[in-house]
Each structure stands twice: as C-alpha cells, then as structure tokens.
C-alpha cells in the first residue's frame, strides 16, 4: 500500500481544526501558527504530488479505495488526474496564503481559523473524491464554514450575504443530489463510482442525458457562477473578509467548472453536444455582461468580483468548444485566474486595511506614495487583462483557438468574446489609472507601504503567474494526456 497522500492532504487541515479547537482562546499567536502549520503540510504534500504525478498517462493516480457503506454501494474512493492535480496544488497554496494573510484578524481568532481549516478539508476533498457520495459530502461540507466566515467576519451586510450564499448554493446542490440518486439506479450493479458511471456513458439514452445533464449543470453553474446565476457572488465577495474572498474566487468558483469537466461532460457527452450552443451563449453573455458591469463599479472589490464573472465566462466558452484545446484553455484559465484573482483580492484587502475605503474615486496618484504596492498591483492587473507573457494571456488565447476551431461554437460567439477582452482592458486600465496615476490625493499622506508578510503572500502567486505565462509547458504536460482521454471518453 502506497502512502495515502490524498487522504493526508484532505484531512490534515481537519486535524488542524481539532488542534485549534483545543487551544486556549487567548493564545492568539499560537492559534495562528498552528493554522499556518496545518495548512503548510498539505502544500508540501501537494508539491510532492506534482513531482510524482506522471503526466504521460491519462489514468487516475494516487488511488485509494476502501469500502465505506457497502450496503448502499458507497466507497471511499480518492484519486487524482491531470485536472485535479493543478487544482489541488492551487487549493493548498491559496489556503496557506490566505491563512497567512488572515494573521491580522483580531476578532474571534480561534473560531476563524477553525472554520478556515474545515473549509480547506472540504475543498481538497472535492478535488480528490471519485465516489459521488463522497464528492457530495465534501461539496456540502464547504458551505458551512463559508457561511460562518462571511457571516461573522464580514462587512456591513454580512448576514444577508451569508445566507444568500448558503441558500443559493444549497439550492444548486440539491439538483445535483437528485441527479446522483437517479444515476445510482442507471447501471447494474448499482454504484456511485464515478469512473464506472463514466465508463457506461454510452448506455445512457439520449433523453436520459438531456434530462440529467441540466440537473448537474444548474448545481455547477451556480457555483461558477454563470450568468444568470451569479447574483450571490457580488454580495458574498464584497462582504467577505479578504482571505475568504481569495478562497471564494480562487477555488470555489473553479469547482463548478471542475464538476463539469469531471462529471457533467464525460457522463453526458450527448447532452454536452446538444446544449453546446446555449452554454456558449451563456458564456458570451457572462463575458460581456461581467465586463460591462465591472466597468460601472465604484467599489474596487466589487469590480474585481464582477471581473470574475467575466473571466469565468471565458472558461465556459472553452468548455463549450468541446475540444482538447478548449478544455485545456479552460483548465489553464482556472489555474491562472486562481492566482490572479486571489492576488487581486489580497491587494484590495491590503489597501482597505490601511485606507478603510474601497471607493475607486477616493484614491488617486498612489503610485507616488506606494511604489512597491503599485508595481505589484499593476503586475496582477496586467495578468487579468491578458497581457502576453503572463498567465491570463496563455489561457485566453487557448480558449479562443479552441472555440474558433470548434464546430460546436459559432464564429460570432468567439468574436464577441474577443470583444470582451477589449472591455476587460478598458476597466482594468481605467481602474489602475484612477487609483495609482494622476495627481496625488493628499488625504492619503499617512498610508504605509506594503509589509513583509503581505509581500510573502503575494510572491508565490506572482511567480506562478509569470511562470505559466512564459513557460506553460509543465502545466500542459500535466493536463494534456488527461484531457485527450476525456475527449476520447466523450466519443468526440
């Protein structure tokens, strides 16, 4: 038996939560370091996993399978392939970064870190689980700590934002639950093993796929969130504390796309083709709408939040293309957006901690006062904008190639999506200009430069952004075999 690396990555944060819970409430500093420690181990493990992962074969690796509830066909089944490996690494990294970034939380520190570590367990589990029941358990487990993190440590409208997030996502999940229950009876002998269910995808009738696919699609679309299911996102993002926004944007949004790649598409390939056009339309609306709404925002955090809607639209377009390039672009964008938006939310939080406002119009000329902060901010802003040489460009470029060459996506959609890039450039440049350039607003004379701990949280994200932008081959090597196999499984 090999070392069960996925189990350790998933449950070490849970162990950390228990340790934190048994630490005295007053030992704030100890709790912080415990949390950092228990989220650092999964990060180390995930790097080991990256090194050990064999990208040349499409099979699942690091597999663990044990009986769990055999009487109803449920097993504890974990494994990772080229889609989940980058996501697991991103989750471990962003969790660690967010926990370090949360060291400035002063209120109810113990509960905060306990919930945060529970959240990490849920996220890791989602990306490892290969049994539907297990997947659903982790999928739901995440909601609870998220609800508390927004509701206790959030902004002025936190109660509303927290319950809206919880209700919205639970509403989506129960559709998936019904789908899971139906799938259980779809094959003989009844099973919830995802791989078996994918293997049998050719036995599902057309009508069965057409009906079942939307059940999963709604659950995932709410999580992404795709237009028109996105309305929970601005509220949750704006009210959530900085580190929670990072996790929301960096990981949780990707789970919807991950779900489509892992479940929706391979299990219901005919439905994927059948719904390609509507999904493409949703994607394009998301891209353009998200960009236009971002442009109109006065609040910096809201702007970043809506830009996520737009960026996730690109991912969905890549999915709708139903080609290796499109899928690869989607996975790239998931990874790249995780780094970029995670960093953007951290930067917004850093500014807010000092200025206590996020109103774009209130700033101006900060570049003079905070040159280092401005430089870092601009780097990530350019990445979001899609500047060549940074990760955002690579992923969007792949998505466009994939969509353009695809017979499932009409050309006009790609044209509109490319237009979205122009809009993105518009709102990002305008934001950078209004905050950092122009005459210095003397009101901000007292602002202090970004500190060492904050730079520490941003450096790894910056390195990844540049690395993926300049030399994307390692990531391509990890994902390509899996995605080629995925297309084969779908019978494309």
């Amino acid at each position: 038996m090999d070392f069960p690396i996925l189990t350790y990555m998933t449950f070490i944060p849970l162990l950390g939560m228990i340790v934190v819970m048994f630490t005295r409430k007053e030992s704030v500093q100890l709790i912080r370091w415990e949390s950092a420690f228990f989220s650092f181990i999964p990060l180390v493990l995930s790097i080991v996993m990256l090194a050990k992962y064999n990208g040349s074969v499409p099979d699942f690796q690091f597999i663990e399978q044990h009986e769990w509830i055999p009487s109803i066909g449920i097993s504890y089944f974990m494994g990772a392939d080229g889609i989940s490996v980058p996501m697991l690494f991103l989750t471990a990294l962003l969790s660690f970064v967010s926990i370090v970034a949360s060291f400035n939380i002063q209120e109810r520190v113990k509960e905060y870190f306990a919930f945060f570590l529970l959240l990490e367990t849920g996220m890791m589990g989602v990306f490892c689980a290969l049994d539907f029941f297990l997947f659903y358990v982790f999928w739901e487990v995440m909601l609870v700590p998220m609800y508390f993190l927004i509701g206790v440590w959030g902004g002025p409208r936190k109660e509303y934002a927290a319950i809206k997030f919880f209700l919205y996502t639970l509403f989506g999940s129960v559709f998936m639950l019904v789908g899971i229950l139906v799938l259980y009876f779809a094959v003989e002998p009844h099973t919830l093993n995802m791989l078996t269910l994918i293997e049998y995808n050719s036995t599902y009738t057309h009508a069965f796929q057409i009906v079942l696919f939307p059940l999963f699609f709604i659950a995932f679309a709410i999580k992404v969130p795709m237009w028109p299911f996105h309305t929970w996102l601005p509220d949750a993002h704006v009210e959530a504390p900085t580190a929670v926004s990072v996790i929301l944007a960096g990981i949780l949004l990707k789970m919807g796309l991950y779900g489509l790649l892992r479940i929706g598409y391979p299990m219901f390939p005919e439905a994927a083709v059948y719904y390609a056009i509507p999904i493409g339309v949703i994607a394009v609306i998301g891209i353009v709408y998200g960009a236009l709404v971002s442009m109109a925002q006065k609040d910096l955090k809201k702007l970043v939040a809506y830009s996520s809607v737009s960026h996730m639209g690109f991912c969905v377009l890549g999915l709708a293309a139903l080609s290796v390039t499109g899928f690869a672009g989607c996975v790239f964008q998931m990874f790249s957006h995780g780094c970029l938006t995670g960093a953007m939310f951290l930067l917004v939080g850093i500014l807010y901690d000092r200025a206590h406002t996020r109103e774009i119009a209130a700033f101006g000329g900060l570049g003079v006062k905070l040159p280092l902060y401005t430089g870092i901010f601009t780097l990530f802003a350019m990445g979001s904008l899609g500047l060549p040489g940074l990760s955002g460009f690579v992923s969007e470029f792949m998505i466009f190639i994939g969509a353009f060459g695809s017979s499932f996506v009409p050309t006009w959609m790609v044209v509109l999506a490319v237009l979205g890039v122009v809009l993105t450039a518009g709102y990002i440049l305008r934001m950078v200009q209004r905050i950092f350039l122009g005459p210095f607003n003397t009101k901000w004379e007292g602002l202090t430069e970004i500190n060492g701990r904050e730079i520490f949280t941003l450096v790894p994200l910056g390195i990844l952004t540049i690395l993926v932008g300049v030399y994307p081959k390692p990531l391509v090597d990890i994902i390509s075999a899996t995605l080629e196999n995925l297309i084969r499984v779908m019978g494309m």
């Binding site: 009986e67 109803i72 487990v141 609870v144 508390f148 927290a162 919880f166 129960v174 019904v178 259980y184």
Partner: protein
C-alpha cells in the same frame, strides 16, 4: 404462550410502578433522584430487549422481531434522552415528579407493545396506553395556562383521532373478517376487492394515524401542544410519539395492505407533499423556538411519508434509520433549548443573540443538530434523507423527491435564522448558560449519535435492513 418474549415490557412496567412506590417514601427535596433511577430502568430494559429472544407470542398478536427491536431501541433511547433533559426542569418547575417519570416509562411500554403488535386491536390498546400517558404529561405544568390548554387540546383531538382510527379498523374487520394483519393480507390478496368500503376504511385509518404523526392537514394540534407542554415532554412527543405512530402505520400498511398499494400510495404522496410544504413554510414565520421546532418536526414527518409512499424494503430501512437520526438531532436541539430555558426562562429566538460567546458548546451543538435536520453531510440527517429519497427515486417518484429537496432548502433558512442570532449578533448578557450533568449527558450522546451515524452509517444500515426484511414486499 411464550411470556419470556415480553420480559422487557413487563420489566419496564414494573420499574414504573417501582418509581411510584419509591416516590411515596422519598422526601420532596430528594425526589429529583427518581430521574436517574428511571434512567437505570431504561438501561436495563435495553439490555433485556437486546438479549431476549425473537419469536411470536399470544397467537399472532405479539411478535418480537428485528422490527420491534429497532423501534424499541429508538423509543427507549428517546425516553432516556428525554428523562436526561427533564431532571433539572422537573426539579425546578414540576410537582409530583414520581408520577412524571412513571408516566414517561408507561408510555414507553405502550410504544414497545405497539411496535411488536401484529394485530389491530392489541395495536389500538397499546396506542391508547401511549397517548393517554402523554395527555397527562402535556398538561403537567398545572399552574401554566398554556400547558393546561395543551393537555386538553391534545386529549380531545387525540381521542377523536383514536375514534376515527377505530372506526377504520372496524370497517377493515368487516371486510376481511379478521384483525390479524397476516389474515387481512391473505384475504386481500385472494379477492377482487378493492371496493369503496375498503377505500373508506383506508381513509379513516390513514387519518387516524396522521393525527398521531401530525401530518398536514391533521397537524393543527401539534404547534399548540408542543408550545404548551413542558419542554422535555415536547422533545419526547416530537420523537417517540411520532415514532410510535410510524411503527404502527408501517406495520399495518406494509404488513397487511401491500396487496392494495394503488389505493393508498396516492394518499400518502399527497400527505407527504402537503406536510413538507406547509411545515417548512410556516416554520419560517415563528419567533418562538419551540413553535419553530414544532413546525420543523411536522416537516420532518413529511420526508418520512415520502418513503412510506415508496413501499419497499429500502423504504422501511430508510424510515427507521431516519427516525433514529431524527431522534438524536431533535432531542439534542431540544436539550439546548431546555438548557437555555432553565437558565433564562425564555424560548424567544431573539434571546439567543450572541449565545456563541456566552456558551460556545451549546451554540455549536445546536448548529450541528440543525445542520443534521437540514441534511448537510457528513451529519446523520444527510444519510437519513439520502436513503429516504433513494427509496422514492427507486420507485420513480421524481417530482416528490423534487418537492422534498426544495423544501429542505427552505428549511435551511429558518434553522439558520437561529444560528444567525447565536453567531452573528452581539450578546445582550454575558453570563454563560449553566448546563447540568444530565443535560450535558443528553447533549453529548446526541452529538455522538449525529456524528457517528453520519460518518459511518454502515452498521446501522445493515442492522436496520434486517428489520425491514420482516415484511414481504
């Protein structure tokens, strides 16, 4: 005649009498010790139930099988937890503590007989033993008007519903010529029924049982009774008395009426839909936590009825498992409510503000119980609901499961409303809520139950599926 099979029931009955007897010789200030004494009796009974053999006694009337065993454990468990939560409450606010504990035990005896009964009349008598004890218990706070109202209301409606049930039973006897469930089944299989008389009798029987279960539209008594009754009795009522109704109902319908499923399944589906929708929606508006839990427990019955309509082995398994997990979560939630009431004398939800600062353990326990009631994994409530819905999907009741999952989402809102008060609001007082050993015991046991069944349900599922195989589907 095989008397050894009913040793547990006889023992518990004698123990109730023993409590009454000891009560005579106990000084007033020491009477709270009768609570732990009753707990001892229950524990011994559990041992007796597990180790007494299986078989039939009194002709076809009494059957000790896995089915009666599972229910007996659930009833004894709820009685145990309810008595744990009663001890402080009774010491402070109740006169005649001896009778109080004895009545709880007597009603448990009735329930155990009920679950084991395979004949309509003995079933009816057991049901009366159960409910009459409960009438008295509901009215136990003599000086409290609401409690007296609760007792009276419960008694009048309970008696009326028993009469309806009895009328249904008499019609069924008229059709089949027997009150033994097996005999009824044999009669129904052979003949070319179902005539209108059978339908009428089924409607009466379902209506009678639905009163006991508090299924909509027969639920009107429940919120008032639940609010007025002493809170530990509310906890006991909402779990054990529903469980008793369910035990009898499943025994009657799966044990004798399976040949005519097409006559009653649509009725159950309609009841399930109404119960889930109304229970969950009305619960949103409640500002008193006992009333909220009353409506929530109505809604929970709706989910059980979903599986009852499925009429399969999986359905029976899921119902019994659900009752078990519902027992832990619901009595656990009531234990928190009782602890809070003992300390602050109020049941208003807004008074829970900031409880997470005052008593973190109580607050997090209530969160866990509520999340289990919503059905969030990995808590027991999720496994329970999962199986219930699985049974319904197996039979192709997609829309019914659709209603069930959507109303579960609605239920999140009112449970989280309490959580919001406890966690997101600032406390108005800062003194921690005192929790006595007995309440702590009830809380810890319930927490263990909710988490253990949720994380590793396999032993429970396989044991309970033995109970489900009592019937031939």
């Amino acid at each position: 005649m095989n008397l050894t099979l009913i040793i547990p029931e006889i023992f518990l009955f004698l123990w109730a009498l023993l409590i009454l007897f000891v009560d005579f010789f106990t000084a007033e200030e020491k009477k709270h010790r009768l609570g732990p004494l009753s707990l001892v009796g229950i524990v011994i009974t559990v041992v007796l139930v597990v180790f007494s053999g299986q078989g039939q006694a009194f002709g076809e009337m009494f059957s000790a099988d896995y089915y009666s065993l599972s229910f007996a454990i659930i009833f004894l468990g709820s009685a145990f937890l309810a008595i744990c939560t009663s001890i402080d409450f009774a010491r402070e606010r109740i006169k005649h503590q001896g009778e109080y504990y004895a009545l709880i035990l007597l009603s448990t005896v009735g329930m155990m007989f009920l679950a084991a009964s395979r004949e309509l009349l003995s079933m009816y008598v057991s049901l009366e033993l159960t409910t009459i004890s409960l009438f008295v218990l509901s009215a136990y706070l003599k000086t409290d008007l609401k409690s007296s109202e609760a007792g009276l209301k419960y008694m009048i409606l309970g008696a009326a519903s028993s009469a309806i049930l009895l009328y249904g039973i008499s019609l069924l006897y008229g059709i089949t010529g027997t009150t033994v469930l097996k005999g009824i089944q044999a009669e129904l299989v052979g003949s070319a029924f179902p005539g209108p008389l059978l339908v009428i009798s089924l409607v009466f029987i379902i209506a009678g049982f639905s009163f006991k279960l508090a299924a909509v539209p027969f639920h009107m008594w429940a919120p008032d009774v639940y609010e007025g009754a002493p809170t530990p009795i509310t906890a006991y009522l909402s779990v054990a008395s529903k469980g008793a109704g369910l035990a009898a109902m499943v025994r009657v319908f799966f044990g004798s009426l399976l040949p005519v499923t097409s006559e009653w399944i649509p009725l159950f589906m309609a009841l399930a839909t109404m119960t889930m929708v109304l229970g969950n929606i009305v619960a949103i508006r409640q500002s008193n936590i006992k009333r909220m839990l009353a409506y929530s427990s109505i809604a929970q019955v709706g989910y059980i009825l979903v599986a009852l309509s499925a009429a399969s082995e999986l359905a029976t398994t899921s119902m019994i498992l659900y009752l078990l997990v519902y027992m832990f979560a619901n009595i656990g939630a009531f234990a928190v409510v009782i602890a809070f009431y003992n300390h602050s004398g109020t049941d208003e939800i807004c008074e829970y503000a900031g409880l997470s600062r005052r008593s973190p353990f109580l607050a997090i326990s209530l969160v866990i119980f509520f999340l289990s009631l919503v059905g969030i994994p990995p808590l027991a409530g999720f496994v329970g609901k999962y199986l219930l819905f699985l049974a319904a999907i197996q039979k192709g009741y997609y829309w019914l499961v659709g209603v069930a999952v959507l109303t579960s989402v609605i239920s999140l809102f009112y449970y989280m409303n309490v959580v919001r008060q406890m966690y997101f609001r600032k406390p108005t007082k800062n003194d921690p809520v005192k929790v006595s050993w007995s309440l702590r015991l009830a809380l810890v046991l319930s927490l263990i139950g909710v988490i253990a069944v949720g994380v590793y349900p396999d032993p429970f599922v396989s044991l309970i599926s033995k109970a489900a195989s009592v019937f031939v589907y």
